[in-house]
C-alpha cells in the first residue's frame, strides 16, 4: 500500500518534462504545426509567458518562403497564404464555401457577384485542383487559376 502511494505520487507529482515542438515544414497537405503536449499540467505553465511556437520576429513574416511559387500567378501574398493553408483550402473547396476560399477570391481579385459560381466550379472540379495527396501549393494555385481564365 505504501509503495503504491509513493509510485502514484511520483506519477502525478512529476510532470513529464519532454515537450518537443515539431514544426511540420513542407509545402503540401499536412503542413501544420504539431506540438507534443505530453502533459496538460505543462500547458498550464506555458500560459505564463504566452510564447507561441514561432520564433518571433518583427516585420512581415508571411509564411514558408522555400516553397516554389506559382508559374502563372505573381502574387506573393497569395502564394504564402496557400502555402500555409493547404488543408483548410482543400476543405473549403470540397464544401463549396468558406473563409479561406473567400480569401483566395480576394487575393485573386474575383468580383463578388461571380464568386458563388466560381466556388461551385471549383467544388465540381476538386479532383482537378487537388490532383494528388502529394500536391504542392504552387500547383494548387495554377490549377485554380485555370478556372478563372475559362
Amino acid at each position: 500500500m505504501k509503495k503504491l502511494i509513493v509510485l502514484l505520487a511520483i506519477a502525478l507529482l512529476l510532470p513529464v518534462l519532454a515537450f518537443a515542438d515539431q514544426k511540420n515544414t513542407g509545402c503540401g497537405l499536412g503542413t501544420l504545426i504539431i506540438k507534443d503536449a505530453n502533459s496538460v499540467f505543462l500547458q498550464t505553465l506555458v500560459v505564463t509567458t504566452n510564447a507561441s511556437t514561432y520564433t518571433q520576429t518583427f516585420g512581415i513574416t508571411s509564411g514558408t518562403s522555400n516553397c516554389s511559387k506559382s508559374k502563372f500567378v505573381q502574387n506573393d501574398k497569395l502564394n504564402y497564404f496557400v502555402d500555409s493553408n493547404m488543408d483548410v483550402i482543400a476543405h473549403d473547396i470540397a464544401k463549396g464555401e468558406g473563409e479561406s476560399l473567400n480569401t483566395i477570391a480576394d487575393l485573386m481579385n474575383i468580383d463578388i457577384e461571380k464568386r458563388s459560381d466560381f466556388f461551385l466550379t471549383l467544388q465540381k472540379n476538386f479532383s482537378n485542383i487537388y490532383t494528388s495527396d502529394k500536391i504542392q501549393a504552387a500547383e494548387v494555385i495554377d490549377n485554380i487559376n485555370m478556372f478563372i481564365l475559362s
Binding site: A9, V40, Q43, A51
Partner: protein, 630 residues
Amino acid sequence: MVLSCMSFFLSFLPSNITICNADSEQDKYIEGLLKTAEEKKLYDTRQWHVLLHYKSSILHGFISDIDDPKFFISSNGKYSPQSELIETIKAFFRTDVKNDDHPICKFIARYQWLKSELDISETLIPKQECVECNKFLNELNPRSAVLIFPTSYLNSPASFYGHTFLRIDSVYESKLISYGVSYAATTNEPPGFFYAFKGIFGLYKGLFSVLPYYEKIKEYNYLENRDIWEYRLNLSQDEVMRMCLHLWELSNVSSSYYFIDNNCSYALLFLIEAARPELNLTGDFIYWVIPIDTIRVLEKNKLITDISYRPSQNKKIKYISSLLSSVHQDMAMTIAQSKIDPEQILTNLDIKMEDKIKILDLASEYLQYDYLKKNISKDDYSRLLLKILTSRSKLDKLQYNIPTPERPETGHNSSRLAIGGGYLNGRFYQNIGFSPAAHFLLDSDKGNIQGSSISFLNTEFRYYYGIDRFYLSELTLLSITSLAEMDNFFKSISWSIKTGLSEEENRQKDFHSIYNLAVGGGITYRFLPDSLLYSLIMVDIKLGSALNDSYSLGAGLQAGVLTNITDFWKAQLQFKTMYYELGDINQLYLIELNQAFYLSTNNALKITASRKKTYDFYIDEINVSWNYYF
C-alpha cells in the same frame, strides 16, 4: 557644432566658411525648436508620456516601463521626460546616420508628433528615406484594429488568463490575411517549472511580433482548441495609423516580461493609448493585469463597437456530432480511422443527403484532429483527407450555425471578497477572505467553462468566538481544477492541483498549520445536460511541525457530482477519502454538499455543509458566505 566650425576655419578654404555659417543657422533653428518645446512644456504632455511609456514613480518622479536602452536617446531618458524630449529633437538633425537608421525613421511616431507641434520645416531638416518602415506600413495598410482574445484551452483553465493580441484590418474583406500584433516573452527553452518561474519574475524579455492572422488562427483555433473572440475597436483610420507608427518604434525593443503585470495585455493597452492619447487605460491596473479585465476597461471607455466569435475545432466537432445520431457519429469516426471508404456513404440510400454531408464533414474534422494529436502519419493523413474531401465535393454546400456562447467578459469579475459565518462542531466563527483572481467550481458558468476552476492567492481569515481566536485559515497559492468531460471522441483526462498553507485538526483536536501539495487525475462524464460526474485519484503531501515526522504522504479518491439546478442555483456533492500511509498516519473521510445562489453577476451566496472523519474523531461544519466579485 562649434568645434567643427573651428576646424573649417583653420583649413583656410573659403567655401568652408559658407558651410560653417549653415551649421550655425541650423543650430539657431534647433535652439528655436527647443525653446518652443520648453514654452509649450511638451515633455509634460500626455502624448509624450504615452509615446515613452512613462508612469509616475515615487523615487524618480517618472519612470518608463520600457527597459531596453535603445528606446531612449538621452542617457537619462528612462527617468526624465524632459531630457528625452531635448535629445530627441536634437537627434532629428543628426547627419552621421541615414534613412532607416536615422532617428526620424526609428522614432517615427515621435517625429510626426513633434513635427506638427513645433511646425518643423521639411526644408530645414535632413530628408530621410524610411524604406523599411514604409514597407511595413504598406504591407499592414491599416484601416481598423480589433482586439483578439483566445479563451481557455480545452482542459487548461489557466489559459483563461492567457492572451490578447491586436489584429490590424486592412482593405481586404477577408480577415485571415490581416496582421496580428502580439507581445510575448521570448523563450528559447521548453516549458518546465523554470519557465513559469521566469515568466512570473520578469526573467524573460518581451517583444512585439507581427504575423498573419491565419497563422494565429491555426495556432489557437486548431492546435490549442481555443475559441476566439474578436472585439472591434472604435478607432479611426488615422488613430490606427498612429498606433502602427508607435508599433514600429517598438520593433525589437524589449521590456522585462512579467506574467502578472507587464504582460501581453498590458502592452497592448499602450498601443491603444498611442492611437488616442486622451485615453488612460494603463492607469486602471496597479498590481496585476488579467487579460479579460483589459477587455472590460475597453468596454468602459466605449472603445468596443462590434464583437464576433470563432469557435474552436473542438466546438465544431461537438456541434456537428450533436446533429447526428450515434450510429452516424460512429460512421464518421470509422471513416476517419480508414476503416470504411467515404464513397460508401455516398452510395448508401438509407442516409439522407443532409446527413451524408454532416458525416463527411465530421469525418474530415476528426481526421484533422487526430493528425494534430499525432495519432497518424502525415502520409496516411493526406491520403485519407483527399479521399474524404473528394467524396465531399460531390455533395452540396451546408451552413453550420454554431451557437455563440455568452461572452467571456460578461462573467463575474476577477477578484473575490468572501464574508460569512459558520459553525464547526458547535463553535461559531466568522470568516473573511480575498482572492485577486479566482473562478471556483461553484461559481456561475456564465462566460466561463463548466467544470473549470482556477484561483491564485486565495486567502481566508477566521475568528472563533468561543475561544477568541483569529487566525489565517487558508492561503492557497494556486488551485486549478479541470473537469474535462470524456466522450466518444475526446478522451480528455480531468486533473487538479492545489498548493498552499492551511489550518487543519491534528490528533489532539487542535488546529495547526500545514503546507500541502495535492495533485489529482481522473475522468469526468456528463450525465443529464447540465451535470458532471467526476472521479479523481488524488495524491497529497503535507508538511507541518505538528505532524508525526513532520510530514504526511497519502493517496485516495475524490469524486462527486456538479450540477446546475437552475440558471442561478448550482450544487456540488463531493466525497473524499484519503489514506496517509507515510509519515503521519491517518485516514480521512469527507462528505460535503456545497451550494451557490447567484444573486447577480457579481454577487453570490454560498452554503456549504460537511462531515469529516480524521484520526478518530468527527468534524461537522456548516458555512454561509456572501461572495462579492469586483
